[in-house]
Symmetry: C2
Subunit: 344 residues, 2 copies
């Protein structure tokens, strides 16, 4: 097979979603795999990271990066393998992380890629979970902003998700009492069982407001918010004085269309002298090397566990993405596009 | 006139307000002036401070002090003169600050009173304006939380109010560019004229969102929020990255009944990595002596100006209180109950 015969499947943004993600939002196209020009690297994408923020990038709401343009390949983090390099820093066969998008192959400038120290055995998906922007996000929000103290009560929404599950374990490491909010008994059992959360609330079956009042009679000191909406309102009704609220995401509102709603009990932020801090992992990446070191140590000590929900096939990416919004993913959601090759 | 003949008029909370303040909320009663018991001080109230937070205290919403009970004298800060003392620390004729409430006389424990260093000439209302919790609130919110840097853009809502007008001038002292939002051309002219604000937006006549886009093309770095509601939404659409939002009050929402609304564009807090901090002056009072010193110096240097809207007659307190909510007060709102007496 010569390179000119290779085809590159690409999911391109066809239409901005207004509410839920339907089949009209992404369109599958195929084009020949390109040749790298001077300073460029051709990468075969192996793993595709599916994240809640993709829903933001698809929209034209005010956001922290430019929205993906209509007709462009959908943006996403990827791990891939160098196929051909016209950049002195990369050789074929090397494993690299980058923003390769929803496609089989990417053409990247060398500066856009980070070589991973892959030993050939560790699951590559590790670099899409704990030791990726996922772990840094959890660390930044929980330890740098929330800063839980021993004995304080911490609540995490989206607690069984990729970021939330790590965030809660970081609060446990700090000696806090941790309550997770998640959807369904299986996720809740995972939180209190394997992950060691002190309690879990199933927002589908329980009254979150009432359960929080029982579980946190002195109020919530740190609320790591991944979801927004009614769950956040329930927590806002149970804030302790001087509560800290790292605001990581608002996934419950992304599909709701243009006119969002803020927490109706926003006044409690004033009454409880609470602090809310919106944060984006980009701002913490300069500290990522140190943070990866701490996370890897805690992982090796068995103090942080995580799981990755790997689903096969680039063709399934749009369907899999919806799992983030109906809560059916189990941990960090990844599409496996291809396996690494010994002879690239 | 003997003391037993003295009558004490009292505004008592008759009914919790649901929306606007009507004539049914406070009820005027009269009872004989009481005699101080051991450790108590009888104080003739001279000045009554009318503040937006009274609307909170009247309600049973979640709040930072216990709500005023139905039938109790309405709580308020006062300045008064000692009439009779059974406490070794106070003598008749002394001027004291306290929480005397909406009444002619209060019976206070000595620990509840603070003696003022009154020279007999300075208007007593000074101690209800800059050198009171008003000034401390502005200092705490603007300098301790907002922390504006030279050249940054600062927006103050309720800018012509007691706290807002001082907050804006503190940001000017720090070298920031200050935009005030207020109701009506007279207030706006006062802000940009006498107080030296760089710009003012009349929210009654102008599109706040569009004007902010013009006046702050690089976004708002600090937003000192006194009002909440749609004005806050307009500012949230114009936040700079890493904006700080000292949340001082939400006066636009206090009369709106039980189901409030949070800012509909709350997601911008996430996208702009903004920080919101609710604060209550109680937390800064341990630093009040130092803060009064700084404020008094800036006032003496002509760098902070303020005005007090003094209205006569305890009987007019409920009517005057409404001015805070229709915006017709001009600066800090005070009821003059009586003049100090040379022979108490």
């Amino acid at each position: 097979m010569t390179q000119t015969q290779r085809q590159n499947r690409q999911w391109r943004l066809a239409r901005r979603p207004t509410t839920t993600l339907d089949d009209e939002v992404l369109r599958l196209e195929t084009e020949p795999v390109p040749k790298p020009g001077e300073g460029q690297v051709l990468v075969r994408n192996l793993l595709l990271s599916l994240d809640p923020t993709h829903r933001i990038w698809m929209s034209d709401m005010k956001q922290y990066l430019p929205p993906v343009e209509i007709g462009a390949v959908m943006r996403a983090g990827t791990i891939g393998q160098v196929v051909e390099s016209a950049h002195p820093g990369f050789r074929p066969g090397e494993i690299v992380a980058g923003m390769g998008g929803y496609q089989d192959y990417q053409l990247a400038r060398g500066e856009e890629l980070t070589r991973l120290p892959w030993d050939g055995r560790t699951p590559l998906s590790t670099y899409m979970g704990l030791l990726s922007f996922i772990g840094v996000t959890a660390y930044q929000g929980m330890l740098e902003i929330g800063d839980p103290q021993p004995g304080e009560t911490v609540v995490v929404s989206g607690a069984a998700g990729a970021v939330g599950s790590i965030a809660g374990q970081l609060a446990k490491i700090r000696g806090a009492r941790v309550i997770g909010i998640a959807g369904g008994p299986a996720k809740c059992a995972w939180l209190t069982g394997e992950l060691g959360f002190d309690a879990a609330i199933d927002y589908r079956a329980e009254n979150v407001r009432a359960r929080l009042r029982e579980l946190a009679p002195k109020g919530v000191n740190v609320y790591f918010d991944n979801v927004g909406g009614e769950i956040t309102e329930a927590v806002f009704d149970n804030l302790a004085l001087n509560a800290r609220i790292p605001l990581c995401g608002l996934i419950s509102t992304y599909n709701s269309g243009k006119t969002g709603t803020g927490p109706r009990n926003y006044a409690n932020v004033l009454m409880q002298r609470a602090m809310i801090k919106g944060f984006i992992v980009i701002d913490a990446m300069p500290r990522a090397a140190r943070i990866y070191g701490e996370l890897a140590t805690w992982h090796a000590e068995g103090r942080i566990k995580y799981r990755v929900d790997v689903r096969p096939g680039l063709e399934n990416a749009p369907t899999a993405l919806r799992a983030l919004f109906d809560g059916s993913n189990e941990g960090k959601l990844v599409i496996e596009i291809a396996a690494p090759s010994a002879a690239a």
